[in-house]
Symmetry: C2
Subunit: 190 residues, 2 copies
């Protein structure tokens, strides 16, 4: 039996992405965003949505660039902190002990300690409601060698990112491997 809950952003699961940008005088800033996802395979693109009052909002519009920094489970406290505090009030790199590194391909900093980085150039800006959506073209992916599988691609269990549950505002771990996509379902083919 289904219960009607009304209009809520309860789409599961959501990511925990830390957005890296430059502010005035190229001061690095980071903030956490859970409203986002991949939006195109070619060119590879992703979206993140931010509210206008965020320091990162103007930073992206000014520099036409941002990085998405994907934390590992042991970095969830740092990722949560930079989503609570404003970069207008505090240097979040100092507060967390994380290290900003200048991207070589876009005008934005990334976080040295995080295992997986997507370097993005701003492609489109879409007004929706209280959030503005930024579509970024993924110019390059940077990954710690230790999170790569035998085929040289990032493995979810090695990156081990926190999973966000919007309806509970809570973080979860990644669980067990289930199987290959575009493959498991073929058992139903007549």
């Amino acid at each position: 039996m289904k219960k009607s809950l009304g209009p809520h952003p309860f789409a599961l699961p959501a990511p925990v992405w830390v957005v890296g940008t430059y502010g005035e005088n190229k001061k690095p800033n980071i903030m956490t965003a859970a409203w986002g996802g991949i939006c195109c395979s070619s060119p590879p693109c992703l979206t993140i949505s931010l509210q206008k009052q965020r320091a990162s909002y103007n930073n992206i519009l000014t520099n036409k660039a941002f990085t998405i920094n994907i934390p590992s489970q042991h970095q969830v406290i740092e990722a949560d902190y930079v989503g609570i505090i404003s970069g207008k009030d505090e240097d979040k790199f100092v507060a967390t002990g994380l290290t900003p590194i200048a991207s070589q391909v876009v005008n934005a900093p990334y976080i040295q300690e995080f295992p997986l980085i997507l370097e993005c150039r701003l492609l489109q800006t879409i007004e929706i409601g209280v959030h503005t959506q930024f579509i970024g073209e993924i110019i390059n992916v940077l990954a710690e060698e230790k999170v790569l599988g035998e085929n040289g691609l990032p493995l979810l269990t090695k990156v081990n990112p926190p999973i966000f549950s919007p309806s509970e505002r809570a973080y979860y771990e990644v669980g067990e491997y289930v199987g290959k996509s575009h493959s498991m379902g073929l058992v139903l083919k007549k």
Copy 2:
């Protein structure tokens, strides 16, 4: 040490969402999409990206509506199957044994057996590259009572959706509860 992997849509984690639409003569269709995410809190909105050759693409444009059906882990084979086969070739409800139910609030069907449903009306259509992004306003959320927590909201471990890893094209389970967002990070506050 970070390795440069080039441009790829390797943003982790991604969802496993089944999009419900009506085709000609109100024939229900479903397809799986992993390119999507929440994009606004108010009005609550989400995005999904589809390629133009998909039957669901025209269905959304015609009806200005779709549902997002979130499977539970034991439904991953059905969810994978409806991402492989085209609705132009086969009735996917017959093939999977899933049951289409008419939404009461938007012109689209949802899947009776799936635990969490988001009923969406089309708000914007954004051309990006090989994928087109549809922004849908979440008009209502339907949830099986058994996936709700004590506060009446869906719990990630009870919905228990598969998690998609784009770099491996593989599914994973949800793991253990970690902690509350907007809270865990406060231990870093001076």
